[in-house]
């Protein structure tokens, strides 16, 4: 790429620069939107389709990179089911998850989001009986209460606990 730069058509260079600027603006826009609800990563189609096939595609920042690495290395034994993918797709999703992973705290790399100190703290006011309601099923079912979780929005204002 760099070696043929001097020979480039100047018009193409201008178009390239304009496209580059647009890309930067798009990324900046996505980041700003992500900061608002703090969960939405830039979209990754494979992550959304493959993880979202069986459960809500959990936001990468909810676990540290080491946790995602462990999860993605044993997809054929994924919390009691075989969730294996072809190696290329698994690698793409693993790299996406690790790139947008949360910070590691206290050297722990839990495999379940619900076991992180952050999750427990955020949900400390939810009575145990609520998790057991058929309408909720389990703490893994984010969307039962976080009605906009599918869009990456976990804001308290959008929470409605079902009966």
């Amino acid at each position: 790429m760099r070696t043929d730069a001097p020979r480039r058509d100047p018009r193409r260079t201008a178009i390239g620069a304009a496209l580059g600027l647009l890309a930067v603006l798009a990324v900046a826009g996505a980041t700003a939107a992500g900061d608002r609800d703090r969960m939405a990563p830039p979209p990754n189609a494979a992550w959304k389709t493959e993880c979202g096939a069986c459960h809500l595609p959990y936001p990468p920042r909810l676990l540290p990179a080491r946790s995602w690495r462990a999860i993605m290395s044993e997809l054929d034994r994924h919390f009691g089911t075989d969730a294996s993918l072809d190696p290329a797709q698994a690698a793409e999703i693993a790299s996406f998850l690790e790139r947008h992973a949360g910070r590691e705290r206290g050297g722990a790399a839990p495999l379940r989001i619900t076991e992180t100190p952050w999750f427990r703290r955020e949900h400390r006011e939810v009575p145990v009986a609520v998790w057991a309601r058929p309408s909720v099923g389990s703490p893994a079912n984010c969307a039962a209460c976080h009605r906009t979780a599918e869009q990456g929005d976990y804001d308290d204002d959008t929470v409605t606990i079902p009966r």
Binding site: C54, H55, T81, D82, S84, L85, D86, G137, S138, A140
Partner: protein, 138 residues
């Protein structure tokens, strides 16, 4: 040994690079399974929808059957046994998108057979199930 379904997967991947226009049909997938079944057992005498239905509803010594998540009427939506997520109908009559991608068919048979039977399904078992699913009308 390279199975006909694998060849169909490979061919489909090449054909659909950059688009989804040339998806397979349930019948094409059934034909690939038929070639695999014939290769696996020279005495192969065709798929049976009735055997497929029995297989689909059987627990095979474990906790789950196919019907646990897909229901015993797979023209209806199902529910994932552990996560509770809705599963779109499996039978083509209830969901024309089903059995149109050889790669997806291979992926889900691999995963779900492992979950239900703790082994891979044989081409005969897959073909029987598909024969039953295809036999279900609206």
């Amino acid at each position: 040994m390279r199975s006909a379904l694998t060849v169909l997967v490979a061919g489909w991947c090449i054909l659909t690079t950059g688009g989804d226009a040339s998806a397979a049909s349930p019948l094409e997938i059934q034909r690939a399974l038929e070639a695999d079944a014939r290769q696996a057992a020279p005495g192969f005498a065709g798929f049976s929808a009735q055997r497929g239905q029995q297989f689909f509803n059987a627990r095979h010594g474990g906790d789950w059957s196919c019907a646990t998540c897909h229901t015993s009427d797979p023209r209806q939506p199902g529910t994932h046994a552990t996560t509770g997520k809705a599963i779109a109908p499996l039978a083509p009559a209830g969901n024309p998108d089903r059995f149109t991608s050889p790669a997806r068919v291979e992926k889900w048979f691999r995963r779900n057979c492992n979950d239900v039977l703790r082994r891979a399904c044989t081409p005969l078992e897959k073909g029987d199930v598909l024969a039953w699913l295809m036999s279900l009308g609206r």
